[in-house]
Amino acid sequence: MNQLYDVIIIGGGPAGLSAAYSAWENGAKKIIVIERDRELGGILQQCIHNGFGLHHFKEELTGPGYAYRCIEMIKDKPEIETLVDTMVLDVKDNKTVIAVSPEKGLMELQGKTVILTMGCRERTRGAIRTPGERPAGVFTAGAAQRMVNMEGYLPGHKIVILGSGDIGLVMARRMSLEGCKVQAVLEICPFSNGLTRNIVQCLHDYDIPLYLSHTIVKIHGDTRVTGITVAKVDYKMCPIPGTEFDIECDTVLLSVGLIPENELSNGLNLAMHPLTAGPIVDQHRETSLDGFFAAGNVVHVHDLVDFVSDEAEIAGKYAALKALGKMEGEMREVKVSAINGVRTCVPQKLSMSVANPADEKVKLFMRVAAPHRKVRLEIKSGDNVLLSKPLPVAKPSEMIAVEIPAAKFDLIGDEITVGLLL
């Protein structure tokens, strides 16, 4: 089996589904979405809480509700095929994709373009080197979330959550609603990495204490977790001797960060960005390898799925145009640099048409390195200010999205810088 597709999309979560729809809207005639799980929708299917979709669908949805919308949009379209329970084993730089499924066996697909939408995975205990015994009862928050919300089992009864990212906060509420006792949420940073609304409605509502600048220094238990020792940390995030105290629990859930899942991207030797841990992309979400696009959490970890969809629609559109031969013409590359308190900015480069530079406004997604109040964001090229915008609040946990209007494009030189005026 070796069929030629306009667009092959690897990953059937919100990014892959939005990319598929957008590729279809932009004229691609043969699109396939490959998903490794038993159904489409990705991690959204286990995120049963609400708060999704306000930007993208102008409506507040649950995770499964958002997934349902995305699935409905691509359903019954003869141009879009989907494969579930299918794992991509290899992608070659000529856009041959090797995949397996129990139903169809080993498959070889050929694409004119490929969109990488594999999402991200959770950082583990090993990555943060939490000391102690290695009993049962230590889970990543997402693994526990899947068991509780989709399979119908509890990871334990007395819970401590390490990390105050949104998954950790949402799981604190979820476990409380299931009748479990959440003893504490611990955060090694002096600030929470979750949305403020989740601090309020997931912790305050259930009287769950949040210990900032604290971490686990020992996990106890021979067979199953029996408790943990916690310590306060200094400004270098090192435990301060003498501040230790014990918390009794049978379960530790880790919500200590997400990492873009880029095994396939690395196999393709795509240029990667050290801070986003994802491929370097231009404003069309095309990677360093011609005809390979990437979008969603595989490029950089997003705070809102709405932005994932926005970004994936861009990738879908330009992959379709590329497959249809509508992305010809000479391009010049403009470097996008994050400076002065802005940690990352996607895209990391712009491909500007030499003949017709002012084709479309450019949307930039960025994250700051540390929390700020009342700062100004400035985007410049040389001495030309392309955009200057006051930000009432800027937090590392929340992505900032701004647009450079097409009218400003003739001011752009070889590089633009994105930074805060501190």
Partner: protein, 120 residues
């Protein structure tokens, strides 16, 4: 007249606007810092009768998964959320279910329905 100002974060959407709320005699008289009309509404409720959405699961038979995610059709009184969640742990429904189907009508007499978040 008792006038109080309180700083609170709106939780109606992920933006989490930080609002300054003026309360006179237990009633919200002024809100600043919000970006949409849901902010003042949330502030008024939060001061007098806090309300929350509920999302949880119910057991389902004959579906792809053993659980069906559900959501309240609108906000519930905050102090009854745990009661509703506990009640829903005892509910079992039969597939097929469509997204938006009412799973429990008027839960615990609170005037709010519980609906399916997805089909199964």
């Amino acid at each position: 007249m008792a006038v109080e100002t309180r700083v609170m974060n709106c939780i109606m959407c992920p933006m989490g606007c930080e609002m300054t709320v003026t309360i006179e005699d237990g009633k919200v008289t002024n809100v600043t810092g919000n970006t949409c009309p849901r902010g003042p509404k949330y502030a008024a409720d939060e001061v007098t009768a806090p309300k929350r959405m509920l999302t949880t699961t119910v057991a389902v038979e004959g579906g792809l998964l053993p659980l069906l995610p559900v959501v309240s059709s609108t906000v519930l009184p905050k102090e009854r959320v745990l009661d509703c969640a506990a009640y829903l742990r005892g509910v079992k429904v039969q597939a097929p279910i469509k997204a938006g189907d009412v799973v429990v009508k008027d839960i615990l007499g609170l005037g709010v329905d519980i609906v399916a978040s997805r089909g199964m």
